[in-house]
């Protein structure tokens, strides 16, 4: 008999907040975009709307020691862990401390680009060797292992836009196989010059600066940054230490869709349908048990069309929340930030709406006005990537 996997703590660094209560409050507010242009060695051609963490001061959270050589992505992860799990690490003897599994698409691509830029400008022989350590994609995770003396696991998952969700899947596998009793798992992404240029060149960035998931006139997404991490543990372990169980990670599915449309998505939606069905199957529930769906949609027309088609077939009447309207497209962190939003909504017995209504491209039961008094037992969270990665998880409310 495999153990049940439960979520006992959630922590985040995001413009919506740093914990479920702050996120819950922010979901009731309009989107808070700001603008970015300069990135050290390079600048974007114009101020670009994005979801930045405006008040992020890592030194205030982490102290000054050891931060000089750490990049932005690492500081995001360390801060999320510090805020949510410092006490847990400090109260747990070193050998028993939880390992880490973090999903990120780019790691710190800004560090890699800066390392190269420094080498080109100042000479390859003069580049700072300490900066080299930041160029490996696992650097943020490993830096967290080092800071918190966590030896049980240091794993990084990088499946582009699905990285966060696949990190949860990896962690769940680790627990289900009995390799560990608890882990810290989540998703991370920094805003970088290269990610923004990449999204722009891919035709994915909204020129209007508005993220309107499933919108008939949606013109792209708005990039975001952040980190959301969770303590995943076996139910037995959580109960043995008296931990408060927020939710159960009841169903997990990931698959791949090799068929590609112009923007990368398979508009027929074979992979995303399979993932949603499989996640419910893994949870041992039927599709009708899902109280609401947290969509992957972020305003990129083909991606939204693919998911809308699949939802119309499988969940024609189920409410659909589109958190990316307020979180932005946080790439490898997105699905974990959506998971945090879903946990906040489950706790508040509601489904958060976008706020402003707009015409839809396809008939999706999208929630515009927040619905209260919705006691959700099961929630489905989607993450579908233009590269073919498809993933869904089912959360069971245990609060």
């Amino acid at each position: 008999m495999e153990p049940k996997i439960v979520i006992t703590t959630a922590s985040a660094i995001h413009c919506l907040g740093r914990n479920l209560d702050e996120i819950s409050a922010s979901l009731a507010l309009p989107p808070r975009t700001s603008y970015l242009k300069d990135f050290g060695f390079h600048s974007l051609s114009k101020d670009t709307p994005c979801f930045r963490i405006g008040d992020f001061e890592p030194e205030a959270i982490l102290g000054k020691k050891g931060l000089r050589t750490k990049d932005h992505a690492t500081k995001l992860l360390l801060s999320a862990i510090e805020l949510g799990f410092k006490d847990l690490f400090e109260s747990t003897p070193e050998p028993a401390r939880p390992g880490l599994c973090i999903g990120t698409s780019f790691g710190s691509v800004q560090s890699i680009g800066d390392f190269l830029s420094d080498a080109i400008i100042n000479g390859f022989h003069n580049v700072n060797p300490q900066a080299f350590a930041n160029t490996v994609i696992n650097a943020p995770t490993s830096n967290a292992n080092i800071r918190y003396l966590s030896r049980a696991l240091s794993s990084t998952v990088s499946t582009t836009f699905n990285a966060g969700l696949d990190a949860l899947a990896y962690a769940a596998m680790f627990l289900r196989r009995g390799y560990a009793s608890w882990l810290i798992a989540g998703g991370l992404e920094e805003l970088s010059y290269y990610a923004l240029i990449g999204l722009d060149k891919n035709g994915s960035l909204s020129a209007s600066g508005v993220c309107a998931p499933f919108g008939a006139t949606a013109d792209g997404t708005v990039a975001g940054e952040g980190c959301a991490v969770f303590c995943l543990e076996t139910e037995e372990h959580a109960k043995s230490r008296g931990a408060h169980i927020i939710a159960e990670l009841a169903g997990i599915a990931s698959c791949f869709d090799p068929k590609k449309g112009p923007q990368g998505f398979n508009l027929a939606g074979d992979g995303c349908r399979h993932a949603m069905r499989q996640a419910c199957g893994d949870a041992g529930i039927s599709l009708s048990d899902i109280a609401f769906v947290a969509a992957s949609a972020g305003g990129v027309p083909d991606g939204d069309t693919m998911e809308a088609g699949a939802l119309a077939g499988l969940f024609p009447k189920t409410p659909v929340a589109a958190y990316k309207a307020k979180t932005g497209e946080c790439i490898g962190a997105s699905s974990c930030i959506s998971t945090a939003c879903a946990l906040a909504d489950m706790k508040a017995q509601r489904v958060s709406g976008i706020g402003n209504a707009y015409p839809l491209s396809l008939p999706v039961n999208l929630v515009f006005e927040t619905r209260t008094g919705v006691p959700a037992e099961f929630v489905l969270i989607n993450s579908f990537s233009c590269d073919g990665y498809c993933g869904s998880i089912v959360l069971k409310n245990r609060s």
Binding site: A119, A133, A139, T141, S154, Y179, C255, F256, P258, K260
Partner: protein, 409 residues
Amino acid sequence: MKNDRAVVTGLGVVSPIGTGVEAFWNAACKGTNGIAPLTSFDTTGFRTSVGAEVKDFSAGSFLAPSQVSSMGRSSQFAVAASKMALADAGLDIAKHDPYRTGVSFGTTMGEPQVLEEGIERLYGATGSADALPEDLPRKYPCGVISANVASALGACGPVIMIPTACAAGNYAIGYAHDLIRRGMADVVIAGGSDPISKIAFTGFNRLLATAKECCRPFDKNRDGMAVGEGAGSLVLESLSHAKKRGAKIYAEVLGYGLGCDAFKMTIPDPSGSGGILALTTALAHANIGPDAVDYVSAHGTGTEENDRTETLIIKTVLGERAKSVPVSSLKSMIGHTMGAASAIEAAACCLTMSHGVILPTINYRTPDPECDLDYVPNAARSASINIAVSNAYAFGGNTSSLVLGRFKG
């Protein structure tokens, strides 16, 4: 939860000493040195000018022209190695449920050449972002490597990229083994891939970690590693699936162990804490004791710190057995192929068991009192191997050990 056994039924290798299992194995048995002056870029002024490049690789032999131009070198290596592995396994994915076939790959740098080219263009004519290649976003993120393998093969099952630096191949194979053991896939293409890059070459040179002429692991006069490139791919299959189609079986993946030094980003914990944890865990998961280990394929980079620490790890975990277990480093021949290293080394372990030949550690001349094991110096050796352990360690203190066993029905 099926708990089926995971067996290896196909191998594919792209390496600095040969592309294809036969070319690689023949060269490795002869102790071929794949380390030579680099031709990919100018090395003037660096501590060393040598590295381990793949010399005989033609992407066009494995991919259509449009695929070649749409992929970075790491993806090209990964797809080529995986196609060779599937051919070796005699497996046609199209004849099986595509949702039961997965891909699990690892890498250190991903597709660094794509970013290098982009940034060099940025500093070229205009300095404008317009100079960045249009296809950069689709070619650069390391997740595209696994996606490219899955797309090329038509795999629709679980697909993952685990970029845990130079231990990534072992992580990927371990996860593939879990997918099969848990009944989530019948077949998983698992491996690792990395291209040579200016970033890695510059970084390791600036850390004074590169060898000046050749890589001599465990030798008293070792002076570093040689940056390399390549890919290794293994077809992992559930035993029931392999038996049903009458597949040849190279080996069984018995278990693996992971750990972390939690010490420094670029050097191992001299006490070997993470490596000891990984090896101890791997043996426990494989349900074997230290006395069952017949061979250790070492991480063996040729750096002062790694080789001393790895020797300590092996001695600590294997105890008295360590003195009689042959330990060799493939990196003496193919350099450090980064995220590909442990995948290629796992493939080599499978071949070691099936051929009864242990590959040598070449360039070994002077014993080091701190590295006092049997490193199979300079010449391959015949031996019957039932249990092989492959170690892989990485930046960030990531540690891993994989246990492979000769298949016994």
